[in-house]
Subunit: 387 residues, 2 copies
């Protein structure tokens, strides 16, 4: 039925490692199903012995039982199947196989000729260090909240954070365009408040409004934010789509650092038998799409991530990825001042600590100053590496 | 620290029911955490006894142990917290709590004054019946594939499907803009092939190209598709963002029926202890965002959905939802001709059967004709309800 087909194809392939729970026989059968499901989604026996069979269908490169009841299949795909676009790349890596139980996308390797089609992060770690004037120390961030405060209240909070020496002040990710603090009023007021402190004290705090809004307003909101002085943007790929992040990163008129937030994406990572490995989702994919910072819930906070999960994100932020800049892993979700030494020992100097609500326990300005001083002291004690 | 705040607030609330695995004490603690996490994400003890506490923080309306080790918490949220926008509505319903283990968003009730802010599906079931000229019978659909065929091969396949009497012919969801069949060439060739058959035979098949592409090209692709004669569009909300669907549905210049595809969203539904209930994700939310048809993997096919899961989707497609039109549940993922009676008995006349690769087993045209005849015979046997 399907005519034999000849294709012009580069031969270059990207690789996905899937962890499969189950017996080796059962896992092997699912791995074989995945090679078809992610590509032609068509009865393989109806395909001729042609280039579709040879190149388009995924190829099992390795299959091993790594532990009793747990196998890993390494499957390669022709880079052409991705169409060199992020939504379709997601489709090949994990689209239909998200619907198959007990399959986890464990690791991804993208070859240079695929990566060359993406610009990736505009700033990355180095760019953020330049913008904030922090050549060697860990970066520090907080968020304006709670939802319900008027723009003036949120702006006053941001001013204290800037005065205290934070590098990045983001909107809480739950601030969108609510009547309590409409987007434009809030962003203008907060950006002006931060700019005033920066001008007066010489600080270089970046204010990142959340632009989580309608698909046809996000770009407009982003440019409005830039126009009134925002220093970056907070984006939620799980809610607006990963390629929206890429579109904002690639916008040369915008040219703002971008922070990705993990809301709505937890279901991909928390069950180890399925979904996508933490480092792939919050590290490699966010970075591919141009995030300069990726927020995740640090171990020991309000959420559930293990140290290993956090480590996989940190590693993916700086692992070689062709010409794509290393980015900053930003641990949040219940981080506290009193854990600072432990957290910095774990995450290292090239990370960002995002301390949200806990910074408001007591005096916000004092706490922000203490955080900055403690991070500088840590930096000095640990021999402030040359930038 | 946080000034007492007075808010103008309607008092109208939307309701989410969360299933929580664990002991009642532990589940109750997580339910209380959710009321804060989804809204203010800020230490509740630092909030004054004000309108933020009274209205913005979520409210536990009911809490019950429904089975040993399984509780349900009914939590209401002020409609204002949603900002009346889909990304932020997703945030309140499931944003940060996606990161909390063993929490499943089980049910959602949206009040009329929130629903009134959304137009929902432009066509819905009735609109699709008018467009396809099928006033009472179940609708039938297939997909052009495999990836790797040139535009002419895919177009020839679509022509046979139209000739055979299918109502909807969609691109395989894995077709994007690959070099094998670039978007514009493929869509033009396929639309023309279907139009030729429609003109010659009087059939009214709709061709739905997949517009899964870069964030800044999707709208352009959609309009190109319309211009060359596409009868609808296939959208993957899990990859391009749910609000992109809403944006396309609300586009009065476009005005095409939209089919939502579940790729990449499986991790939300397959583990019953977490994620989002099938009917909420593929029914209520897709419908809210304007899908006229929602594709899901039918029970007994290549994937894992139970009959109960499929039923929850079918029900959510037609449940009362203020003025939002009922939509069509489209069961796919390994459906076969020989199961037709069983499938139609289960899904009913207001559903769509999406038979993909299996329709190519043997002669595609013959199979399509058989499918159409079998569905018409079923309709006659079951007393073709007056439309």
């Amino acid at each position: 039925v399907i005519p034999a087909t000849t294709l012009e194809i580069s031969g270059s392939r990207f690789v996905a490692v899937y962890a499969l729970a189950g017996t080796p026989d059962d896992a092997r059968a699912r791995a074989e199903a995945i090679t078809v499901e992610q590509t032609i989604e068509f009865p393989a026996d109806l395909i001729a012995d042609d280039d579709i069979r040879a190149h388009v269908i995924g190829r099992i490169e390795a299959f091993t039982e790594v532990a009793p009841g747990r196998c890993e299949a390494t499957i390669s795909y022709a880079i052409e199947t991705s169409g060199f676009e992020i939504p379709q790349l997601l489709n090949v890596l994990y689209g239909n196989c998200s619907l198959i139980p007990d399959v986890r996308l464990q690791h991804v390797t993208l070859p240079d000729d695929l990566l060359a089609r993406f610009r990736g992060p505009r700033f990355g770690l180095r760019g953020l260090r330049e913008l904030t004037g922090a050549p060697t120390r860990p970066l520090i961030a907080s968020a304006t909240k709670p939802q319900g405060l008027p723009p003036s209240g949120l702006a006053a909070m941001a001013a204290r954070m800037a005065e205290g020496g934070l590098d990045v002040i983001k909107d809480d990710h739950g601030l969108s365009d609510q009547p309590f603090a409409p987007f434009r009023e809030r962003v203008r007021a907060t950006a002006e408040a931060v700019a005033e402190v920066n001008a007066r004290t010489g600080s270089r705090a970046l204010y990142l409004p959340s632009i989580n809004g309608p698909a046809d307003e996000i770009v407009e909101r982003a440019h409005f934010a830039k126009d009134v002085g925002a220093g970056g943007l907070l984006v939620i790929p799980g809610e607006v789509g990963l390629d929206t992040l890429r579109r904002l990163a690639d916008d040369d008129e915008l040219a703002l650092p971008l922070m990705a937030h993990p809301a709505f994406q937890g279901a991909f990572v928390v069950d180890a038998r399925m979904g996508i490995e933490h480092g792939v989702l919050f590290g490699t994919l966010d970075r591919l799409a141009g995030a300069d910072m990726t927020v995740f819930p640090g171990y020991g906070g309000r959420f559930s991530f293990s140290q290993a999960a956090c480590r996989s994100i940190v590693d993916a932020c700086s692992a070689p990825l062709a010409g794509l800049r290393p980015i900053v892993a930003a641990a949040g979700g219940g981080m506290t001042l009193d854990r600072l030494d432990e957290l910095l020992s774990f995450y290292g100097r090239d990370s960002m600590l995002l301390i949200g609500g806990n910074l408001s326990r007591g005096d916000l300005l004092d706490n922000a100053r203490q955080l900055r001083e403690a991070v500088e002291a840590w930096d000095a004690r640990h021999g402030a590496a040359t930038p």
